[in-house]
Amino acid sequence: MSAKLLQVKNLRTSFFTDAGEVKAVNGLSFDLEKGKVLGIVGESGSGKSVTAYSILRILPETGKIIGGEILLDGEDITKYSKKEMREIRGCRIGIIFQDPMTSLNPVYTIGSQITEAILLHTDRTRAQAAARAVEMLALVGVNEPARRVKQYPHELSGGMRQRVMIAMALSCEPDILIADEPTTALDVTIQAQILELMQELQKKLGMAIIMITHDLGVIADMCDEIVVMYGGRICERGSADDIFYNPRHEYTKGLLHSIPSAAKLDEKLVPIGGSPIDMLNMPKGCPFFARCDRAMKICLDEPPEEIEINPGHFASCWVNVQQMLDDEKAAGGAEEAGQ
């Protein structure tokens, strides 16, 4: 069994705004193993990006981790001091963001921005760091890296900027790379290139990846394990096969059904009914209650407990509990009958 690199246990992060407390992440648990790719799927507002920011503790002013643990190699980093967190950021965990245009500082060259990261976390001299920056650019497939290093972000195309972000995030060889919707802001053809690049780099450098996205296609391609989130809670988690072939949460099922398929051109599109949840007025029970076809009264009152469907495959849904109880009853009845 490979070592668990990252363990998130019952993470709860809230934003304290003028309008009230927004429970962006409300009891999230998952594990990440060395060298594996974990995908976090969900709509906007489901809490997936907030999870990433919580791990690195780069939440905006109004955000705060109010509960749970994040264990990196066994140590709870939610208890780390600011200085200790700074040592982790960029060094043990790197992150790339959704919009590469706004994520790079417009008044500094891309070379200096990469070099900054290298100088922060390694012992290299300026000259060595600069050389390393050029190396990294070459590694991520930026052409003419020696020339590009002196350019400013606005001189590069979207795809290239994202490559620069990746170079920057990986420059200190972190154990984990978090990718927060890395392809959403890019053209479709560039998307494919970036994803390919990430897979290559993963094979070469062996880091674990947390891929955050709302695009199931991306997930299907790359991920070993998948976590599905809605309204700040986890709906379901398991291996890619588990999720795609045996979904056990109504939300997951809805997502899978709503994917238009080129093979079934005549079929009507099947959206998930209702509107996205208002994070300021979260219901007591399951966040998906109002949109769920199989909702029960208990779903309104009690947040569903997570139960293990199969080894490694967990779902948080009362329907599964109900099924289990029915099965038990049937098995009990059969036993009695067979007596």
């Binding site: 780069i58 967190m85 992150i95 500082n105 417009p106 922060l120 920057m168």
Partner: protein, 303 residues
């Protein structure tokens, strides 16, 4: 970028030419003309004027000659005193320039510091205090401020002596001139900083493990400065016009006082020359501030 620089300088030159033209022809619309052909204070002065300014020639020719004289540094003589205007401008501007430059620095540096402090300590008491004072000061016209300062510090309390050439005291006029731009810059810096601190690249910097103080001084400030640089031109213009009143109130022998007394005395050649001088100065300062901005913003550098 060089294309831009050339275009901008050309625009400035056109503007200056327009100003000189407007001023000259406007002044000549006054019955009797700027040199008051009909009623001159001193016959000796009148003779000099006729000779030097060819007042009997057609207006267009006069205009050409005026321009030529201007390039030679000859602005004519004051109707009131008969002195060479270029000499008057020369010595009085030296004083005004000193005060003006000091005011610019006094406005800029504290403004940037207070504004950044307010942004960083948002919603805490330093922020509220700074913003409150800035808002109040931005509503006080320079002449009101100047007069009140004079009243309180010079006349009532006697802390600061009244200005004279032998005993020049610059502190009150500098404060009176600088307070409005300083408050404006404070507010501008705060909102610019807040804007910048919300940007994605600040989050990127933090995610790389950059220490918070460098996130602010290296990543944020450099970007937050850009709108402030845009303000440099208008600020220079404000200080220039403000100096007219401030110098008058504090009875300082600078160009502002000379200009105002020229207006009161209807010393037309003085008014004409000073208007042109000040206007050209303003255009040049606006030009400089525009160019500095373009220089500093890399997005424009390479177009």
């Amino acid at each position: 970028m060089w294309k831009y620089v050339v275009k901008r300088i050309a625009l400035a030159i056109v503007t200056i030419f327009i100003i000189i033209t407007i001023t000259f022809f406007a002044m000549n619309a006054i019955p009797g003309g700027p040199f008051q052909k009909e009623k001159s204070p001193l016959p000796a002065v009148q003779a000099v004027l006729e000779e030097r300014f060819n007042l009997d020639k057609p207006l267009i020719v006069q205009f050409g000659l005026y321009l030529r004289n201007m390039f030679r540094g000859d602005f004519g003589i004051s109707l009131k005193t008969g002195r060479e205007i270029s000499a008057i401008i020369g010595e009085s501007f030296a004083i005004s320039a000193k005060i003006g430059a000091a005011a610019i620095i006094t406005a800029l540096l504290p403004g940037l510091i207070f504004g950044s402090a307010a942004a960083l300590m948002r919603n805490k008491w330093p922020d509220r205090l700074i913003i409150f004072s800035s808002t109040v000061f931005v509503s006080v016209p320079s002449f009101v401020l100047a007069t009140i300062l004079l009243l309180v510090f010079s006349l009532k309390l006697g802390w600061v002596p009244v200005w004279s050439i032998k005993n020049p005291s610059y502190i009150l006029p500098i404060v009176a001139l600088a307070l409005y731009p300083m408050s404006y810059i404070t507010r501008l810096t705060k909102s610019s900083m807040l804007d910048v601190l919300n940007q994605d690249y600040i989050r990127t910097a933090r995610s790389k493990g950059v220490a918070e103080r460098w996130v602010i001084f290296k990543h944020a400030l450099r970007n937050a400065l850009l709108p402030v640089i845009t303000y440099l031109g208008p600020m220079a213009a404000y200080i220039l016009t403000g100096s007219l009143v401030v110098e008058t109130v504090f009875t300082i022998g600078g160009l502002g006082t000379k200009f105002v007394s020229g207006i009161t005395n209807r010393d037309y050649p003085m008014i004409m020359a000073t208007t042109i001088f000040l206007a050209v100065l303003m255009v040049i300062m606006t030009l400089l501030s525009d160019l500095v901005y373009k220089l500093v913003d890399p997005k424009i550098k390479f177009e």
